[in-house]
């Protein structure tokens, strides 16, 4: 159970810099999830930790040892790939024992380890099958089994569930969480999927174009995003962003006017002194945080384009008078399909303000 330390990690493919200086600490036994949009460098970062991709510059420590130049098999890591990467010509048993065979372990020892792993993952009846005779979920379990057999200090997962259907994904997600509890190993997990990130992680690392946008516990990122990017990335449906302008500063409160809502004013408890009168800012409100008219701080009226009723909740796709798109979540209300317009309230304590560069104003 190792901790990891990344210092100034960079990666360039030729002249293209893909990872632009990452500093990160991962504690022993922690479950860390890397999220970020496609192409932001999640896999590259993971593959550098694994040793599959050389590190252009920076320092990588695993368990207190510098690992930059160490062979992938000697880093105490194991990796589970999105495409499973099972050896197609070997049975499940041979796949799981392959690494031990090359580590020179005796046959009975290998057999014991494979048995142990297959017990944990309930793979016993499948041991003599070839990968092509398995379902997607079973293949992924074998891939995880192959990792477990090596008793790694650190597990690396690169979008392990994205080839599975929705139901199986939920099932395997729980399985992985159980595994983390049982093995207490450090796990680093790359995903696109918000829900996986929120449910599995002790700590989420949001990456953006090769840089860390924010690191924190799942709810911390949800409640307290550092910037517009993280605010927009975490949470589903996405946070609504409304163009605004600072119009006043009044005993510890910042008053902004919403450009597309006829200048409706919202007063926010923000002390940040960098915001001046006349600055262009963005106000962020999550769909689930609009209150009924009159029950918040400022009311806005929007036109409704489409209403989606999912039963318990409904999503209203709305349009501001100035043209901005908004999504509003309502609970237990079924009559919005008929509505043309709706008035809702913004509560200052559930609203976020970002400056023109996307930085959070607190």
């Amino acid at each position: 159970m190792s901790n990891l330390k990344l210092r100034g990690i960079r990666k360039a493919f030729g002249n293209l810099e893909v990872i632009k200086g990452v500093d990160l600490d991962i504690n022993s036994s922690e479950f860390v999830v890397f999220v970020g949009p496609s192409g932001c460098g999640k896999s590259t970062l993971l593959r550098m930790i694994a040793g599959l991709e050389p590190i252009t510059s920076g320092e990588l420590d695993i368990g207190g040892e510098r690992m930059n130049d160490v062979d992938p098999s000697k880093r105490g890591i194991a990796m589970v790939f999105q495409t499973y990467a099972l050896y197609p010509h070997m049975t499940v048993r041979e796949n799981m024992g392959f690494a031990l065979r090359f580590a020179g372990k005796p046959k009975d020892e290998i057999e014991k380890q494979v048995k142990e792993a297959s017990r944990i993952l309930e793979l016993d009846p499948l041991l003599d099958r070839l990968p092509k005779q398995l379902s997607g979920g079973q293949r992924q379990r074998v891939a995880i089994g192959r990792a477990i057999v090596r008793h790694p200090q650190v597990f690396l997962f690169d979008e392990p569930l994205s080839n599975l259907d929705a139901e199986l994904r939920v099932h395997m997600r729980i399985e992985i969480a159980r595994l983390h509890k049982e093995l207490k190993a450090t796990m680093i997990y790359v995903t696109h999927d918000q829900v996986e990130a929120m449910t599995l992680a002790d700590k989420i690392v949001v990456l953006r174009e090769g840089e860390i946008a924010q690191v924190g516990a799942p709810l911390q990122l949800y409640d307290n995003p550092d910037n517009l990017f993280v605010a927009g990335f975490i949470g589903s449906p996405k946070m609504n962003f409304m163009a605004a302008e600072v119009v006043d500063r009044d005993n510890g409160k910042l008053v902004v006017a919403l450009a597309n809502h006829g200048g409706t004013k919202v007063a926010l408890p923000i002390a940040d002194s960098s915001a001046n009168k006349g600055d262009k800012v963005t106000l962020g409100v999550r769909p689930e945080h609009f209150a009924d008219a009159g029950k918040g701080d400022s009311d806005i009226t929007v036109g409704i384009d489409v209403a989606e009723h999912l039963g318990q909740t409904s999503y209203l796709y709305a349009r501001a008078p100035g043209g901005e798109q908004l999504i509003i979540e309502r609970e237990e209300s079924r009559d919005h399909g008929a509505l043309d317009s709706l008035t809702v309230a913004i509560s200052a304590r559930h609203a976020f303000l970002f400056d023109a560069a996307g930085k959070r104003l607190r």
């Binding site: 040793g51 050389p54 590190i55 510059s57 130049d69």
Partner: protein, 294 residues
């Protein structure tokens, strides 16, 4: 650039280790000979004594009636044989691509069979079949198509015909397989849509099949061109280039210059560079034609 890390270095080293044996062999037995023969083509003299002759060999080319003969023959084979063969191959492939055709497997195997025989074996076979009183003449005489036996291998015109038929026999099936494969990759629903739209069969062939096969047609015409320009085995067995050089090809001429007469390596190298240049020009032209029509 930053200094290489250990991992990068081992990746580089491994990359070289995998390709090195092949590169060394290719360097020795391909690159070196090519460069050497380029240099040789500027040398004159017989046997192993030669001296720098500048463009003497190239001048000699233009005045060498046998070379011009061989060049003409090679082009005759190229211009007549390659199109006939490719059109036949395309026709057979189209016919065999029809899933409702009875006996597809049999026809496909039969037409493909010639291309697994050795060049020499089939040339010998053709030589015996096209002998003056061989089976072909017997058949033609018996069926009343001709009154006198045709002197297949003894007449300049008929000898060319035999060579062309022989190559066509051997290679049509080979090209057909490429077309068949490419046709099987064309989405069937395109044809179904065209049929529903009332497009007749010939138009489906001309406006759908042919354009979609263009890359493969280009590929086959390039390899056939290269093959014909290098034609050697068949003529050497069937006719030895005769009668009176009417089937002499460039490759056979190079062979004769080198191994039959008093060797003249310099001049032979010049002739072989003619083939290199021709292959280059023709491949390029075919490539241009294929691209323009796109």
């Amino acid at each position: 650039m930053a200094a290489q890390t250990k991992l990068e270095r081992s990746e580089q080293i491994n990359g070289w280790l995998f390709v090195m044996p092949a590169l060394v062999l290719l360097g020795l037995f391909m690159v070196y000979p090519i460069v050497w023969s380029l240099w040789m083509s500027f040398q004159t003299g017989r046997g192993m004594n030669f001296s720098f002759g500048g463009f003497a060999n190239i001048v000699r080319l233009t005045q060498d009636p046998i070379f011009l003969r061989a060049l003409g023959n090679t082009f005759t084979f190229l211009i007549i044989q390659v199109p006939i063969m490719l059109v036949l191959a395309l026709l057979f492939a189209t016919a065999l691509n029809d899933t409702r055709l009875w006996g597809r497997g049999f026809f496909r195997t039969a037409i493909f069979l010639p291309c697994i025989t050795s060049l020499v074996a089939y040339s010998i076979l053709f030589k015996s079949m096209f002998a003056n009183d061989g089976v072909i003449n017997d058949f033609l005489l018996a069926s009343g198509l001709i009154a006198d036996p045709i002197p297949w291998l003894g007449d300049p015109f008929w000898a060319k015909v035999v060579v062309i038929s022989a190559i066509t026999w051997r290679w049509t099936g080979y090209n057909m397989i490429f077309y068949l494969a490419a046709m099987q990759n064309i989405d069937r629903s395109i044809y179904e849509a065209a049929r529903i739209d009332g497009v007749p069969a010939w138009a489906r062939f001309w406006y759908i099949t042919v354009p979609m096969l263009k890359p493969v047609i280009l590929f086959t015409s390039v390899i056939s061109t290269i093959g014909t320009l290098q034609l050697f085995d068949e003529v050497n067995v069937l006719t030895l280039g005769g009668p009176s050089d009417s089937t002499l090809t460039l490759s056979l001429y190079i062979y004769n210059l080198t191994f039959k007469f008093m060797p003249n390596f310099g001049y032979a190298s010049t002739v072989s560079y003619v083939i290199v240049v021709l292959v280059g020009i023709l491949s390029f032209l075919q490539f241009l034609v294929a691209r323009d029509r796109r």
